[in-house]
């Protein structure tokens, strides 16, 4: 990996390593809650391979995208509804 890129997390700029998945990027940034379950519990990546759907975030306005399956690109806007930034 070489270099860094900038994405937008919940409206705030975040500098991350290029070439990482969104899940890795958010975990590296100490995001603990990617989303909330219907009962309000925090959720974060579990399987890391697209099966468990626990890491869903909103990417460029599209809800329920799996963070572990998307390689971060410069300028991506990520929201973690109900989660911490």
């Amino acid at each position: 990996m070489s270099g860094t890129i900038e994405i937008v997390l919940n409206g705030r700029s975040l500098r991350i390593e290029s070439g990482t998945t969104l899940a890795s990027a958010l975990l590296n940034a100490d995001v603990g809650a990617f989303r909330r379950s219907t009962s309000g519990e925090a959720r974060a990546p579990l399987c890391g391979m697209g099966i468990c759907y626990e890491c869903r975030v909103t990417v460029d306005g599209i809800a329920h995208e799996r963070a572990c399956m998307i390689v971060a690109e410069a300028g991506m806007r990520i929201e973690t509804p109900g989660g911490a930034s």
Partner: protein, 375 residues
Amino acid sequence: MTTVRRSDAIVVGAGIVGAACAAALARDGWRVTILEKSFASAGTTSVGMGHLVAMDDSPEQLALTEYSLRLWRELAPALDARAELDRCGTLWVAEDESQLSALRTKRATYAAAGIATEVLGQRELSEAEPNLRKGLVGALRVPQDSVLYPPGATLTLLDVARAHDAVLRENVEVREIIPNGVQLDGETIRADVVVIAAGSWSPRLISGLPIVPRKGHLAITDRAPGFCRHQIVELGYLTSAHVMTSESVAFNVQPRSTGQVLIGSSRELVGWNAATNRDILRRMLERATNFMPGLADLSVIRCWTGFRPATPDKLPLIGAWEPIPGAWIAAGHEGLGITTSLATAQLLADLIAGRATQIDAAAFSPMRAMDAVHA
């Protein structure tokens, strides 16, 4: 000193109908035991949509659903968060001019039954439900209809029953209905009254009961709050659901309190085969996306099947089963058991007590099936 003997009643089945019957009988002073072969709500109660709906496919059905909706409104304050009650109303959607005239007939039928409705034109419909496809000609809105989570409502009904000393025994299989009692494995229980509320499974206890399992599929999406605001049903639903063809699908979507969209519906007569039928599921989802194209952008996270207890004349069996002393039936509600559970229970409790019923119960007598056979 005189001792008042409380008579014993057994309810077989702890689905929503059995729970409602148990609550009604316990309130009447019966000492109620509920026997459930699995756990409460494990059968058809947990696999349906939970649409509380006035249904007008026959005068008897309309009278029963309307009566039951009144009872639901009375019960509403006792329902807690588990029931997820949402007074979202129903939209019956018309695709063309001929269906629009059918909507007006439907409006008149409801009005005669005292049910307020309003006709939405093309623009009003589009404003009410922006995710419906353009070009639909109108809809009938029934504001009094609502949606709930049936297993949650069943828990409340069981609480009511237990507050009046009813006892729920789960994982207990009834082997035989005997005169004034039931036979379990190695145990006989005597009771003055035995109510069979075992839904699709009732014919296993009363042979010859005209109930068949009519399979349906449902699918639920990820959360998409606000995607739809009413239970939306195509007007053609009645043709699909209430004519006994071998298989059919219809557009029927429901907003859940989580923001998820519950998508139905299908009907098949395939015995007890619970496997997902991909062809039916595909047709059902195509029908849904035809009416709401945006559904295609949502993810279905789960789909499942269930068995509605269907009768030949589309009416439930509520009343005495004369061949067996003490036996009463409350079963065969097909897709309306959630709506009509409370009216079923009240009718049955009134019949058992020898009281006058609020609506004519003759059309629901289980004996009509026998009469038809022997006529």
